[in-house]
C-alpha cells in the first residue's frame, strides 16, 4: 500500500508561459483508467474528493468528439453552485482526451489528457494550454488573491491582539 503510494506520485509544473502539466501513474490498464474518465457515474466517484470540500450537484459528460460536459458543484462557503463546462474536441478511446474549459470565457485552457500503458500500468499526462501567458497569469493571480485575503484576515486578527503602544 505504502509502496504503491510512493511510486504513484502526482507531479505538477508550469511547463511554459502558457502551459501546466500534471502527471500520475495508475496500477491498471489504459482501457480501465480511460473508462473512469469517460463515464459520468465513474467520474462522479473521484472528481470531487471529500478533502477538497466540493461535492457534485450534477455530472453530465457526453464523451465523444463534439460532445459536451457540465459538472456542477456545491461548496459550503458559497450559496451558489459552481458550474464547469466545455466541449470534447478530440476523443481517442483508451489513448487521448481533449476538452475545452469554457466557464471562464475566453481565457479558458484547453486540456489534453493522454493515457500511456506500459507493463499493465498507465501513465496519465494532463496538459493545460492557455490561450496566452496573460490568461495563465490571471488564473494564478485570481487563485492567489483568494489566499491573500485569508492571510490578511489572519494579520488583522493578530493586530487586534497587539497592545496599542506597540502599534
Amino acid at each position: 500500500m505504502d509502496a504503491r503510494k510512493e511510486s504513484n506520485r502526482t507531479t505538477a509544473e508550469r511547463k511554459s508561459e502558457r502551459e501546466t502539466v500534471v502527471t500520475r501513474t495508475f496500477n491498471g490498464p489504459a482501457r480501465i483508467v480511460f473508462e473512469a474518465w469517460t463515464k459520468p457515474e465513474l467520474l462522479k466517484r473521484w472528481w470531487a474528493p471529500k478533502s477538497i470540500g466540493m461535492s457534485f450537484v450534477s455530472c453530465e459528460a457526453d464523451v465523444r468528439t463534439g460532445g459536451t460536459y457540465r459538472f456542477v458543484f456545491s461548496h459550503p462557503s458559497s450559496e451558489q453552485p459552481a458550474a464547469f463546462f466545455g466541449r470534447y474536441i478530440e476523443v481517442i478511446p483508451n489513448a487521448r482526451l481533449v476538452w475545452t474549459n469554457d466557464e471562464g470565457g475566453e481565457g479558458g485552457a484547453v486540456t489534453t489528457v493522454t493515457f500511456e500503458e506500459k507493463g499493465g500500468k498507465t501513465l496519465v499526462v494532463m496538459h493545460d494550454l492557455y490561450p496566452s501567458k496573460e490568461a495563465l497569469d490571471d488564473a494564478i493571480a485570481s487563485g492567489s488573491a483568494a489566499e491573500m485575503d485569508e492571510s490578511f484576515e489572519q494579520l488583522d486578527a493578530l493586530l487586534v491582539t497587539l497592545p496599542t503602544e506597540q502599534r
Binding site: T20, N27, I32, W47, P49, I52, S144, L155, Q166, R167
Partner: protein
C-alpha cells in the same frame, strides 16, 4: 512549507509595524499607484517612499513593476512565490482526485476479473 509561511508572516508583520506602510497598503487597496504618487500623498521624499515600498515588497505584500520611467506599485505577493503556491495547490487538488481514482481503478479491475470468470463458466 510551514517554515516558509512563518518567515513570510514575520516579514509581513514587521512591514506592518509602521503607520506609513499601513497607509500605503490601504491606499494600494483602493488603486495601484506610482512611487511618485505615494510620496506626494504621504508628504514624503521619493527616496523615503522607495524605502517603505521596498520593505513591503520584501514582505511580499506589494509588487512593483517598472514601465518606462514609472514604477507602479500594487498589492500582492511576489509573482514567483505566488505561482509556486498556486502550482502546489493545483497539484494537491489532482493528487486528492487521483487517490480516489485509484479506488475506482481497483474496483473496475476486480469487476473485470469477476466478469471474466463468469464468462468462462
Amino acid at each position: 512549507m510551514v517554515q516558509y509561511h512563518q518567515a513570510r508572516f514575520d516579514a509581513s508583520f514587521a512591514a506592518l509595524s509602521d503607520a506609513t506602510r499601513r497607509g500605503v497598503l490601504e491606499q494600494l487597496g483602493r488603486a495601484d499607484a506610482s512611487i511618485t504618487d505615494l510620496a506626494s500623498k504621504f508628504h514624503m521624499t521619493l527616496t523615503g517612499m522607495k524605502k517603505h515600498v521596498g520593505v513591503l515588497e520584501q514582505a511580499g505584500l506589494v509588487t512593483t513593476e517598472k514601465v518606462g520611467r514609472v514604477r507602479t506599485c500594487r498589492l500582492g505577493s511576489r509573482r514567483l512565490e505566488e505561482e509556486a503556491a498556486w502550482i502546489e495547490r493545483y497539484r494537491q487538488l489532482w493528487a486528492a482526485r487521483f487517490d480516489e481514482l485509484d479506488t475506482v481503478v481497483e474496483d473496475l479491475k476486480r469487476k473485470e476479473k469477476v466478469d471474466g470468470r463468469k464468462k468462462r463458466e
